[in-house]
Structures are given as structure tokens and as C-alpha cells.
């Protein structure tokens, strides 16, 4: 509970700081020419928000599957010394299995820009 309260208070402090800084700033409104996104003097045809073509999307899917392993590793780390080589062997197997997935992905070229 204390941890939650502390995090909330710290967040509140920073939000207040930032809002105070904005309050002290100069004029608020921007005329239209000033709002143009910076393109080195050029102009865009459309809004920048778009169905953005993420070039690494397969990598992110592999990542969320691989990252699940963390959920298992944290508790494993606590009992590692106690359980000794058995824990090492289990985690070694686990990571070896997951590494196969990464190797397969690498072979399929998921880490480069699609």
C-alpha cells in the first residue's frame, strides 16, 4: 500500500511541476502557419497520423511470446540457489526451447525491416 501511495504522490508532484511550467509560459494560441509540422520548409499532403506501416511487426509478436518467460524467471531467481542445479537445468531447457523460436524467426528474417 505504501508503495502505491508513494508512486501516486511522485506522479502527482511531476504532473504539478509540468503543469506549473506550462502555466508560466508565453502566449498560448498558435496561428495556422505556425502549426504546420516541421518539414524543413516543405508541406505535407495529409495528416501525419496514418495506418503506420510498422516494419518490425513480426518481431513484436515474437517478443510478447518470448517476454512471457520473464513471468517464470522472476520467481525462479528467488529459489535458484536453494534448488541448485535442478533449477539451472530447468531454466536452461526452457530458454533453449524459446531460443529455437528466435532462431527460426531470425532465419525467416523477422528482425530486419519488412
Amino acid at each position: 500500500m505504501e508503495a502505491l501511495l508513494t508512486a501516486l504522490v511522485l506522479t502527482g508532484i511531476f504532473v504539478a511541476l509540468v503543469l506549473a511550467a506550462y502555466r508560466a509560459s508565453g502566449p498560448r494560441c498558435s496561428p495556422w502557419p505556425q502549426r504546420l509540422p516541421f518539414l524543413g520548409g516543405g508541406e505535407a499532403d495529409t495528416h501525419a497520423w496514418q495506418r503506420y506501416h510498422v516494419r518490425f511487426y513480426t518481431m513484436t509478436l515474437v517478443f510478447i511470446a518470448f517476454e512471457m518467460e520473464m513471468m517464470f524467471m522472476y520467481p525462479w531467481a528467488v529459489v535458484f540457489v536453494e534448488e541448485g542445479l535442478k533449477a539451472l537445468a530447468e531454466m536452461g531447457m526452457f530458454l533453449a526451447i524459446l531460443s529455437l523460436g528466435i532462431l527460426y524467426g531470425w532465419r525467416e528474417g523477422i528482425f530486419r525491416w519488412q
Partner: protein, 303 residues
Amino acid sequence: MSLAAFPFLAFFLALGAALVVVLDAVARAALAGAPAGPYLAGTFRHAAMRLSGQLVTTEAPDRANWRLAPAWYGALAAAGLAVVPFGEGMALIQLPTSIVLWGAVEALVVVVVFLHGWSPNAPFPLIGAYRYVATGLPVMLPSMFVLIGAALPARSLDVLAIVESQREMWNVVRQPLGLPLFLIVGLSLTLRGPMDYADSADLAGGSSAEDSGPARAMWQAARLAMLVAFSAMAATVFLGGYLGPLLPGPLWLALKTALVLELMVAATHLLPRMPVSRMVTFLWVVLLPVSFLHLLAAGLVAL
């Protein structure tokens, strides 16, 4: 919770950020072959001026997220620093799983930087935001492995226990690969030098290309705060944190944090930034196996 830690937290953030500015100016001037004095004077003079500038908006931004991103970033830095013990039992957030909390901070940094780049509705920030996600996600893997490696000898996920486990020997000696791997994570968390994929030079400042006045100043300040928080965490996990003879604990931690800050600043100015697809491959194909090895070595040493 130890409320005594609160003033330390505030001091750390303020003094640490000032120290980074000095270190950055000195390193930059030294490498450029110029005296550092004039640069330094200018930096502090202009920080105040930036705060009073106009808050420029773009055509149709996601205003709330854009304006609040620096606040979230700063809050994450503070929350990250809060798990660092400044002395025996003197951490603002004490949890049996505080390194998992640090992991959550790292994950949320990716969210915040993405929001900061997405919100202005402008191309350069947008590209910066997506690039950051591409590197920010996989770089979390070495980070988790490194922190779990440090948790092995401590038999706990608590940062306090990790410090106490270093009474005999610092983790930097026991787990030599850990600190370099963790520094790479830190460069990514604070958008610096070789890992600056969000605020890159080729994107005219990337996610902060459309920030002006106080928004820009706050974003830069939050980056400094995150750098301090990261360095304190690195000093705690690898350099024994507050442990040390004669001097009081917080002072030891400050000295070690300053040392890590120097390493970070040096890495910023001395290492080039690869194009992003190359870095993504590097993270998965080189750094991930290295962190496997690191964990294996750490495990064998801990047994």
C-alpha cells in the same frame, strides 16, 4: 516505506541532473577540442529562457498526451529512483519485488516515449516514436536478464537484498558482463547517443522535434532525471549501492552514481548510432545470447 528517503530522492534528482549537464558540456568540449567554460555558462543561462517561451501547438495534436508525456517520464524516473535504497533500509518504495517494479518502469518508458512522439501529429516525431518501440522493446530483455542475474545471489527480488548480497563482493566483479549490458539499457531508457532512437538527429530531434518552450525544457529535464535514476540503480545493483567504509551510505551511493553517470556520458559521445534495423538485429542476435551467457555465468557463480 522510509520517508527519510524523500529528501535524498529530491536531492539526487536535482544535483544529479545538474551534474549531467556539467559532464555533458565537459565531455563535449573535450572531444571537440574546445574550452568547456563558455558552453557551461550558456547552458544554465538558457535553461531559464527556454521555460518562458511559447508553447507551440500543431494542427490537430493529441494535446493531453503530448503535454503530459514529460510529466509521466519524470514520474517514472522518480518511481525508479524510489526503489533505490540510499542507506540501510532507506528506500522510498520497499517491496519484496522491487526489481520487477523497475522492470515495469522500463516498460512504461516505452509507452511514454511512444505517446510523446505520436501525439504531435507530425512526421518526424511519429517516425521517432516507432523507432523507439522497435529498439525499446527488445532492449528490455537484456535488462531483465541482468537484473535477474543480480537477484540470484541475493535470493530475492528486493533491491535492498541485492545490495546486502554485495557485502563481500560487488556484482560488477562477480558478474562482469552485467554492467555493460545494463548501460546499453540505460542509454535506451534515457534516449542518449548510440541508443537515441526517439530523439534522433536525422529526424531533426525526432519525438521532440515539435516541442517548444516549456514542453521542450520539461522533456529534456525528464530525460536527465531518468538518467540519474538509472545511474543510481546501476550503482546499486552492480557497485554495491550505499555500501562502503567510513563515509555515510548516501554519500557512497552519490559517488558511485556519479561514476556511472560519467560512463554514460562517455558512451553517449563516443559511440555511433546504427540504423534502426541493424540495431534490432544486433539486440536479438548478439545481445540476447550474451545475456543468456551472463545469466548462466551468474548462476554458476552464485551456486
